[in-house]
């Protein structure tokens, strides 16, 4: 029986094979493409991804099967996340084309790596076995290691990458060690088998608990949940801006996709006997909310601000993950809805920040002064994004928080929901500081600072440095002409405007009418919650 199952339904993996082939194709095309035409690779990747998304939907709607004798799942849950990750990939590529042209070398490999990382994420959403999950996670991580280091000449990018590789590989080792301990005590690695073993076990050895703790720690690093978050701000700050966005949005969503399936299939079915993991996750969640949001108060760099704020959001999502249960889909729906809403909103903010960086080379909060006059559309986008992240209506941030916190409260953790709401209030303060710079501080103040303050010069050096090529692409005209620097900024490219605009439409649309999305979310969560 088992050998038949190994290959019988292999065709279900077609989208993954196509994606892998397509990534290689982009690598190869890069060799033959003249330098000035390499933008085409980005557009090609976008088209390819859209094609693969359509292919997946056409092939896989309603399918619920297991591949390779239960290593990979092809179900509504995997499909939902596949399309979701591909969507993120499309938006990230669209918003990075200008950035890559201006500041980075080797565009072909950049897009190729991005495609491979999407493959890794798709596999993470599908895997229902510990080692498969580990390998998918590593495929994502290795792509990210390189992408973080992509600004070759920039010391900060290199430092960030080094930190990321070291912390990343340590956490991978921890994860692997945890997996080995679980295997040594239970003798199984498939999620479903783990829950069977736990159900049958009368008593468990401490080694199992140690193993599970190590797995939690390993995944905690990947999620950047407190206390495993220390790498995040430095890496976010050093990485090129589109990669920061990618880290904050996609890699988190993928790690959560994996965690949800792991819990749903291995631990939730035995929750009435072994519910200790709930407490552990709730404590991690509460710590993440508190630390992320409190430390964010002190940040002056936009990337670091977004890094700490994302730690806080991981806390909210973790609280939702802790209350997954077989009785009600409220928790699973809430978590997945939150992931989508958070990604959409963050995409708006990051795309607008990328546009701002392309025009000015700046990334401090203070540099945003007067943006409402200099480039009103970007200012509005950032403001709406931040209001949404802080959980105010009519944006998706409000609706997703309301949904998720209701789920958390309803599972008996009203105090965690209360803490989440309180820390959302704290986050409003630092988000408002950014909005204050854009809308209330006059641009003139920035001009005075700009003449003599250091960060302006630094930013300029870095733009030049990170670009690492001597041609004039690295310096936008706005950079050398003080007059135009403080009046209006050049219009962002059509691709960036499209990303921001679509993101805004989604932010408001999902905020006032989430029902269609929630239907999809529900089919996904139903698939995973009954899969165990």
């Amino acid at each position: 029986m088992s050998t038949e199952n190994l290959t019988a339904n292999l065709y279900l993996l077609t989208p993954e094979f196509v994606l892998a082939g397509f990534a290689l194709l982009v690598f190869v095309l890069d060799l033959f493409m003249p330098d000035e035409r390499k933008d085409l690779l980005g557009w090609l990747s976008v088209l390819g991804l859209i094609g693969i998304a359509i292919l997946s939907i056409a092939m896989l709607v309603g399918v619920d099967e297991s591949l390779y004798n239960g290593l990979l799942a092809v179900d509504e849950y995997a499909l939902f996340f596949k399309v979701f990750f591909i969507g993120i990939g499309v938006f990230i590529i669209l918003s990075s084309i200008d950035y890559v042209r201006q500041h980075l070398n080797h565009p072909g490999e950049f897009y190729g790596l991005l495609l491979f990382s999407i493959l890794g994420m798709n596999l993470m959403a599908m895997s229902r076995e510990l080692l498969t999950a580990y390998i998918s996670l590593e495929l994502l991580s290795f792509s990210l290691y390189v992408m973080v280091a992509y600004a070759l000449g920039s010391p900060r990018s290199n430092e960030a990458s080094l930190k990321y590789i070291i912390v990343g590989s340590v956490s991978s080792a921890i994860l692997l060690y945890g997996i080995s301990m679980v295997y040594s005590t239970l003798g199984v690695t498939r999620f479903g088998d783990i829950s069977e073993e736990l159900k049958a076990a009368t008593d468990v050895s401490p080694a199992l608990w140690a193993g599970l703790a190590l797995i939690v720690a390993g995944l905690g690093f990947k999620l950047a949940a407190v206390p495993f978050h220390m790498w995040a701000p430095d890496v976010y700050e050093g990485a090129p801006l589109p990669v920061t966005a990618y880290l904050a949005i996609a890699s988190k969503a993928a790690a959560f996709a994996l965690v949800i399936r792991l819990l749903a299939e291995a631990f939730v079915p035995v929750a009435d006997r072994w519910d200790q993991w709930q407490i552990i996750l709730v404590v991690l969640a509460a710590l993440s909310m508190l630390v992320g949001n409190l430390v964010a108060l002190a940040q002056r760099n936009l990337k670091r601000l977004m890094a700490y704020s994302s730690v806080g959001h991981v806390g909210y999502i973790l609280a939702g993950v802790a209350v997954l249960s077989t009785d009600s889909l409220l928790g699973a729906n809430g978590v997945i809805f939150y992931l989508v809403g958070y990604s959409v909103t963050s995409m708006v903010v990051f795309a607008a920040l990328i546009a701002f960086f392309n025009a000015t080379g700046q990334e401090e909060i203070a540099d945003l002064a007067g943006l409402a006059d200099r480039q009103p559309f970007l200012a509005m986008a950032i403001a709406i994004g931040l209001f949404s992240l802080s959980g105010l209506p009519i944006f998706v941030g409000f609706t997703m928080k309301f949904y998720l916190f209701t789920a958390v409260a309803n599972e008996g953790f009203l105090w965690v929901a209360g803490l989440a709401i309180l820390t959302s209030l704290i986050s409003l303060y630092y988000y408002l500081q950014v909005i204050r710079q854009m809308y209330i501080q006059p641009a003139l103040a920035a001009s005075n600072e700009g003449d003599d303050h250091g960060s302006h010069v630094d930013a300029e050096d870095e733009a030049g440095g990170s670009g690492d090529n001597e041609d004039d692409h690295t310096h936008t005209p706005a950079h050398h002409d003080p007059a135009s620097d403080y009046v209006a900024l050049p219009r962002p490219s059509a691709a960036l405007i499209a990303v921001v605009f679509l993101g805004l439409v989604a932010t408001v649309g999902l905020g006032v009418y989430p029902a269609p999305l929630l239907e999809l979310v529900e089919s996904a969560s139903a698939a995973v919650m009954q899969g165990g």
Binding site: L330, L392, P393, T406, N410, Y439, L518
Partner: protein, 520 residues
């Protein structure tokens, strides 16, 4: 008419919201167009709110204009359930009037005008929403929507307060120390207002979640206020539960109502805000808080309300007296009105806390009357500040000679606020006092003393600033513009109307109050 009935409440929310969205597409550099468009939109909402108020059948009572739109089904079950009772009808009318007045008065906004009206209309939409929904999710949704635009409205278009004059004397009495000059930048007022109000909504949110969990334990998880009200009637919420959840709503909503000691955002915020926003905020937004205490706290948690009302009435009395004393010691015209609002919201809170039909009716009528009068005061102060760029009452003198109309309107509003018979304030405060005398006699006496303090600061203000000797410095001052005169005259007429013939209001309010009081 029938199809209007069906969608009228939805229109109150959607018209200003659509107006806000459409305004975004107006050209940036033509401020007058944005203003005209906002007038058009708010005139429609005014008409709708008047029609709703008049069309509310007080003989039939209960909730009317009911319409339910499905929004989310299982497992969360949220509907956009629109309905309006007598209390809401009065407040919807208030919001329609004040929003229209605020838009008219904002003719003077010339900087980023379009953005201003986008935010102002969004705020108006949120306020309408809170008054007419019957679902906790949407109540909170609109509540936050009403708070959201405040930061930018104050931060971008507001004004900072700088006291430059010497601060060694207070009301002519030498002080043993120098208070020095101090500066309250508008960002301070904006941030304080925003954080305190959202801080209040943290408590409300937790309370809403607690209610949801309790309804889940009772077997039917819901956010619908109708269903929750049924559960409350059937005793599904234990007294212990009610006793710890009610204070969440009492303080959470109380923050927005200016409840002492959580009121400090209110003077700072109102002073920093531009005129139109002060009008809306003091006039209508603070009423959201009091409305929330009635609609959510009292209706859904009657036993908790009963247990906590003694505390609330003490706080309300402190509001009255403390607000009045604070107003007496201010020199900034807007701060005086700001603290006077705190003091007057005290009557509203007291009226609610009496748990007596007359007191509660008085509270709601006071919400309406204070909404109009405080909006009128802010409008006229705005007109004065626009021309003099001064709000310090030791510098402003004898304005009556130069700005006759503005001073006259302000004087009427002032007299209404100190409770002169024949104006709306008298009727409302009289009812609140009646309710309080029947329930908490000593506190009622204190509140009457508070009313006397109001008379002191208002009359002194009128005597000095408006009717005093004319300062040659204000020689060239022009009187109120036609727009300001229109708003002033209309609001004064409303104050007179309610003062002389309150029956059209009280009979509508009464049916709402009776159904609330039937729970106790």
């Amino acid at each position: 008419m029938n199809s209007f009935d069906q969608s009228a409440l939805l229109l109150t929310i959607l018209v200003p919201l659509a107006g806000a969205v459409l305004s975004m597409f107006l050209p940036r550099n033509r401020p007058n167009d944005a203003w005209y468009f906002a007038i058009f939109v708010s005139a429609i909402t005014l008409i709708i709110s008047v029609v709703l108020f008049v069309g509310y059948d007080f003989a039939a009572g209960g909730y009317q204009f009911i319409r339910i739109y499905e929004w989310l089904d299982e497992p969360l079950n949220i509907d956009l359930h629109l309905a309006m009772d007598g209390i809401a009808a009065t407040l919807v009318l208030l919001n329609g009037i004040v929003l229209f007045g605020a838009v008219l008065i904002s003719q003077t906004i010339k900087h980023r005008t379009r953005d201003f009206f986008v935010l102002l209309l969004a705020l108006g939409s949120g306020v309408f929403g809170v008054f007419v929904v019957q679902d906790l999710f949407f109540l909170f949704f609109f509540y936050e929507l009403a708070v959201l635009p405040m930061y930018l409205l104050i931060g971008v278009w507001g004004s900072s307060t700088i006291f430059e004059a010497d601060r060694q004397r207070l009301w002519g009495i030498p002080l043993p120390f120098d208070l020095g000059s101090y500066n309250r930048p508008k960002e301070y007022g904006a941030m304080k207002l925003m954080l305190v109000l959202v801080g209040g909504s943290v408590l409300i949110w937790v309370g809403i979640l607690a209610l949801y969990v309790a309804s889940d334990q009772a077997g039917s998880p819901t956010f619908s206020m109708v269903a929750l009200g049924e559960l409350a009637k059937n005793g599904a919420f234990s007294p212990t539960f009610q006793n710890w959840v009610f204070p969440l709503f009492m303080i959470g909503f109380g923050v927005l109502a200016g409840l002492w000691p959580f009121h400090t955002w209110s003077p700072d915020g109102h002073v920093a805000a531009p005129t139109g926003v002060s009008m809306l905020h003091a006039g209508v937004l603070m009423k959201l808080g009091a409305f929330g205490i009635i609609r959510v706290g009292m209706v859904l948690l009657p036993e908790g309300a009963e247990a906590w009302m003694p505390v609330l009435i003490v706080l309300g009395t402190v509001n009255v007296v403390y607000g009045a004393i604070s107003a007496m010691s201010q020199r900034d015209l807007k701060y005086i009105i700001g603290y006077s609002s705190v003091s007057h919201m005290g009557y509203v809170i007291m009226g609610i806390a009496t748990l007596h039909p007359v007191g509660l009716t008085g509270a709601v009528l006071q919400m309406f009357s204070h909404g109009i009068m405080t909006a009128l005061m802010f409008a006229m102060v705005g007109a004065i500040y626009e021309r003099t760029h001064v709000r310090d009452i030791t510098i402003l003198n004898g304005l009556m000679k130069r700005m006759g109309f503005a001073s006259f309107f302000f004087a009427i509003a002032g007299l209404a606020s100190l409770g002169l018979p024949g104006l709306s304030g008298f009727v409302a405060e009289f009812m609140v006092f009646t309710g309080a005398f029947k329930t908490y006699l000593p506190l009622a006496v204190l509140a009457v003393i508070g009313a006397a303090l109001t008379a002191i600061y208002i009359l002194r203000l009128l005597a000095r600033t408006f009717f005093g000797e004319a300062d040659p410095r204000w020689e060239g001052l022009t009187d109120a513009s036609p727009v300001e005169k229109t708003v002033g005259a209309a609001f004064v007429l409303i104050l007179l109307f309610v003062g002389i013939w309150p029956a059209p209001f009280t009979r509508v309010i009464n049916v709402g109050v009776d159904s609330v009081m039937s729970l106790f």
